[in-house]
């Protein structure tokens, strides 16, 4: 999600830099800027409100429209309004009009949150079938693809395949703490307690602690592990 901020800042400059526009038009475009600012400030309710006004009152180019929908999707997701997040993200992808592997992975995550792991899996498989890497067609597959693949498989109860997907991602990015955590969960379901414990221990050693929630600590505690 952080990678989106440079794009947002650029768009913000574009939207605020239209000095030649009449006041009503500038006011309308201000809603778009306000959406981006509210999202950055994690005021998601305001982001949704401003985003809706931005879309209603302006005729934006497709790329900007797609971005506004993507921010709407992100805001819905943060507010745990998962079906709405899916709808906004699908609109963002549709408006963009070109295949985007990374956007499909984001949508996959939203489908998982919305309780539809089968659709989440289909989206990752679509990327794999069509050579849609995270950085574009033909750029290869890395941790994000295998991580989202593993999470969808986990939600579907296919724990062996999920553990395999996380292992594959770790070959590309051996220091991604959350893949160790997710593989630990999969191993736990498979009854491979030693492997699960080893993964949770590794996670506890390398994770950025500010993202660790109580539910993660509780899982680690089941294996006698605490975050140092």
């Amino acid at each position: 999600m952080n990678a989106r901020w440079p794009a947002l800042i650029v768009c913000s400059f574009i939207l605020t830099g239209c000095a030649g526009l009449q006041n009503p038009q500038r006011a309308n475009l201000a809603h778009c800027t306000n959406q981006l600012k509210a999202s950055k400030a994690e005021n998601y309710a305001l982001a949704l409100q401003e985003g809706d006004l931005c879309l209603q009152k302006n005729t934006l180019p497709a790329s900007l429209q797609s971005l506004i929908y993507a921010v709407q999707a992100d805001a819905h997701s943060n507010l745990k309004q998962f079906p709405e997040a899916v709808t906004a993200k699908e609109k963002s992808i549709q408006v963009a009009g070109k295949p985007d592997g990374r956007a499909n992975l984001d949508l996959s995550a939203m489908y998982r949150d919305a309780g539809n792991p089968q659709k989440a899996l289909e989206l990752v498989r679509y990327n794999l079938d069509n050579g849609l890497g995270e950085a574009g067609k033909g750029t290869g597959f890395h941790m994000p693809t295998y991580y989202h693949l593993g999470l969808a498989l986990t939600d579907l109860g296919q724990y062996r395949e999920a553990a395999e997907a996380f292992s594959t991602g770790l070959e590309r990015q051996p220091d991604y703490a959350w893949a160790f955590y997710a593989r630990g969960v999969a191993y736990g379901h498979l009854g491979e307690k030693d492997d699960a414990k080893a993964d949770f221990r590794k996670f506890s050693q390398i994770v950025d602690k500010k993202y660790v929630e109580d539910k993660h600590k509780a899982k680690l505690a089941e294996y006698g592990i605490s975050i140092p």
Partner: protein
């Protein structure tokens, strides 16, 4: 009361007969299990009754496998049979079990037998015993049955289309599985002989090995 006791006894007898039927008692049955290139071979060795003086076995976890010192050491990956194991007329003189990682190419595991005779002779005699032998076909000098899995496919599901082909590296995110009969390399004990082996190569991970190679420490290539 008597009826339920009788039913219970009948079930036990039936179960015992089923177990008996699954026990490998001939080298041919063992080879059929081997030809699956999965855990069946190692599971069947647990209770196999094979000719004396042929394959020496060791316990590896919950299964048995032909004893080798270490699949990671070139000089420790081979067992010579004191007495050849004769499979449908083919003299198997030894067993090897190798594992290695090649940078940028993935993990490679090879396990199987060394046989007397040419690849064509050996393959012709063994073919009737091979599972899914309709796909066991000549490919250059070798005779192979190849398949491929993409990471994320069901763990027991292998694709028979879109194969990588000989001499082509397995793409990242895929695993190739091949049963192959081929000319041994130039060094003893393979020199002048034929290798009959299974291979797993590419993105071979511990969760996959736990299923297909229960005789190995799944993390030996981590």
């Amino acid at each position: 009361m008597f009826r339920s006791v009788f039913s219970g006894v009948a079930l036990l007898v039936a179960a015992a007969c089923t177990a008996q039927a699954q026990t490998v008692t001939t080298p041919e049955q063992l080879f059929t299990e081997f030809s699956r290139c999965d855990a069946h071979f190692f599971e069947s060795l647990r209770d196999a009754r094979l000719p004396a003086g042929t394959v020496r076995l060791s316990d590896y976890g919950s299964v048995k496998a032909p004893t080798v010192t270490s699949p990671l050491q070139e000089d420790g990956a081979y067992q010579h049979f004191e007495t050849p194991l004769v499979v449908n007329g083919v003299r198997m003189v030894g067993y090897y079990n190798q594992a290695q990682t090649l940078k940028n190419l993935g993990n490679f595991l090879f396990w199987g037998f060394i046989a007397d005779g040419s690849p064509q002779e050996v393959a012709a005699k063994l073919k009737p015993l091979i599972v899914d032998n309709g796909r066991f076909v000549s490919q250059g000098q070798a005779i192979t049955r190849a398949e491929i899995r993409r990471i994320g496919d069901p763990i027991g599901q292998w694709r028979t289309e879109g194969l990588t082909g000989p001499g082509v590296a397995t793409p990242f995110g895929f695993v190739d599985r091949v049963l192959m009969v081929d000319t041994g390399d130039n060094r003893p004990p393979m020199a002048g002989r034929t290798t009959v082996f299974c291979s797993l190569q590419g993105t071979v991970t511990a969760p996959l090995l736990q299923v297909y190679r229960p005789d190995l420490n799944a993390h030996l290539l981590d």
